[in-house]
Every structure is written in C-alpha cells, then in structure tokens.
Symmetry: C2
Subunit: 217 residues, 2 copies
C-alpha cells in the first residue's frame, strides 16, 4: 500500500492529473516505482474520499477534460509521516537472478547467451538514464540553485545509475568466469581430465574478491 504515498509525494510538489502521475512514474521514478493507469485512477478517487487530495475539472478543446488533483493539509501530514517512518526491508523479486540460479539445467553456450543478452538490456537502461542525468544536470547549472528537493532526487538518480553500472559489471565478470569454467558442463566431467578443482577454486576466489572481500582463511 505504498502507491498512495507515491501519489501523495508527487502531489506535495505539483498539482497533477492521473495521466501526469503515470508519466512521472514511467520517467524519473521508474528507478523505484511503477504502476498502471487503471490502478492510479481508482487510488486517486479513494484519496479524494479520504480528503487527502481535492480535484477540479479543467475542460479542454479537442482533448478530453482534465481532472487536476491537489494535495490537502491532511495529505501533507500523511506523506511527511510516511517519509519519516521506519524504512522496510525490501522484498526482492529478480526473475533473471532466478534464471541464473537454475542455469545448470542448460548448456554453457545458452548460459553465456543469456548473460550477454541481459547485459545488453541493462546497458540500454543505463544509456537512457545517463541522458536523464545530463538533462537534469544541465537545468540545475542553468538555474544556479540547489535545493533539498534537487539534492534528494539526485541521490536517488545516482543510486539508479550505479545499480545499472554494477549489474552490467557483474554480467561481464560472470561471463568470464563461466567461460573459464566451460568444461564443467561436459557430460563426462567425472573423468577429471577437465577442470582441476584447485583451478576452479582460484577462479572463484578471484571472482568473489573482485566485488567483496571474503576475509577468511
């Protein structure tokens, strides 16, 4: 039940229609949230009956009317309370990592293909994000003003960027590891002509230490 906070948060800054909110979700906020119009519209109605927001109709020519929402004092109270409330531990669902986890069921070539493909998908996302940052950065430099608003949204943006950068790097390093350990997938890996354990161990240790110190014997 955090959709309401996503909406109230946005409305604490600007008045907006359901359609505007959806665009904001898909654009900047996509780093941490998403939703469908068919969920946003009913939620806005609920918020209105709870008197956390108000709306007014704005007729337009050639286009459908707009229903512009504004936040109320009650809404402001709700959102500030929520922002200051204890953060929850995120419950992750990363279906790609799950695929990786079960990739001993497919061939090495398929494994490498999947990792490369996903790396590409992530790279595309990163490129798009970089454009967003550059635009945001440009407008900040033009306006010559820094505000808490700008600061905190930049922090979120940076987090989004580095998340992509890191996932891409992980793909790269994992591809390398899999390629080095290719022979483990051989059907007759029991004949230990393939990859001696010690070698695999060293490769794995290097792979782990590239990201994080294991700090044990």
């Amino acid at each position: 039940m955090t959709l309401r906070h996503a909406i109230l948060g946005l409305l604490s800054k600007w008045d907006a229609t359901g359609y505007d909110i959806k665009k904001e979700f898909d654009d900047f906020m996509s780093i941490f949230w998403h939703s469908h119009l068919s969920q946003i519209y009913p939620e806005l109605n609920k918020l209105e009956t709870e008197e956390l927001v108000t709306s007014r109709l704005i007729p337009q020519e050639g286009k459908p009317h707009k229903k512009v929402y504004s936040i109320t004092d009650g809404g402001i109270e709700e959102i500030t309370n929520w922002v200051g409330s204890p953060p929850e531990i995120p419950k992750i669902k990363d279906s790609f990592l799950m695929q990786v986890f079960f990739m001993d069921n497919i061939s090495v070539d398929q494994v490498i293909f999947q990792l490369k493909y996903y790396q590409g998908v992530r790279q595309k996302r990163l490129d798009e994000m970089k454009l967003t940052v550059q635009e945001a950065w440009k407008s900040i430099k033009e306006r010559q003003t820094m505000t808490p608003r700008l600061l905190m949204s930049s922090a979120v943006l940076r987090r989004g960027l580095e998340q992509e950068v890191q996932y891409i790097k992980w793909c790269e390093e994992t591809i390398q590891l899999v390629e080095a350990c290719k022979s483990l997938w051989d059907p007759d890996a029991s004949l230990d002509s393939v990859l001696p354990f010690e070698e695999a161990k060293d490769l794995m240790e290097e792979y782990f230490n590239a990201a994080v110190g294991l700090e044990e014997d």
Copy 2:
C-alpha cells in the same frame, strides 16, 4: 507467474515438501525470491494437476505427515524452457528509495537518521549473507568438487553480496553529502548566506563521480 518456476527449479534438484521449499526461499533464495506458505501449497496442487510434479505422503511419529513432491519429465521440460527464455526487465519497487526521493519534506536531522537506520538494516543483512557464503565455501573446499550447480549459485550469491555492499556505501556517501549540504534545509535559504551554489555543485559532482563517470563537458 514465476512462483511455479521457483518451485520447479528447486524440485529439479531435490525432492521437497512445501515447508522445505519455504525454508529454501527464506534462506539462500531470499536474494531473488520470496513467497508465503499459503501461496506455495495451492501452487503445488496446481502443478500436480498439471502433472509437472508428483507427490507421496510420508507419515511421521509425533509430527504431522509429510507430502513430498518430485518433479516429472514434463516439469523438467517446463523449467529448462523457462531458464533459457528471454529474461525480463525487472520492475523495481524500492519503497526506501521512494522515501529518500520525498525527504525534502522532513528535517535534515530526520533525513540523516533515516539513512543511518537503513544503512544498519542493510549491514545486518550483509553480515548474515557473509556467514552463508563462508559456510558454502567451506563445504565446497571440503568436498573438493566444483559443478555448474555450485558455480551458478555462487554467482547469484556474489550478486547478492555486492548489492548489499553497494547499498551500504551509497548510504554512507549520501549521508556525507547531506551533512555537507545541511544548510540547504534552513528556512531562510533565500538569504544566500547559506551554501553558495558553486560549492554545492562541486560536492554533487564529486558525489556522482564516486560511483559513475558523468562524461560530459
């Protein structure tokens, strides 16, 4: 609809009860998946009617009976197909990042408190994970064998670890940035006695470059 694949993936390795599956989700697999028993049991029944798994009852003394599930050939086909299918772009929901995004609504002190608190939560998770890695690592070294199964699950573990490490680092660096820009939250920030724009700009540039090159003019 990926819960079915989480279950089938596990059953492609060992026979298990719904209760076992839940424990595996909460333990190792928590890096990328989670679910409730009340969702797992019905899903297992569905999988059985679709003949992707079979079950047998094992009576026990003093404890309730066990319903142990095994994967069928059809189930194996389903899971291998899925593992090799095009990965989907993850739709993130990170409510903490959303809180951060809207933290211009609360005081600097509260902002710093929230970031520190969350850093602690993540640190705890990291510590737990490190124990898991060390145990896994120990048993690998004892058995002196490396398999695709072990390799791919280690890759996922490393991803989980580095995710935590990085989030913690981000918290740290963001706390530093916020502390350096504290005066922006002053009510009379209009009097530009507070933090000159150029200084803020430099701090921000440093903050971004610590994680990712902006590579523009």
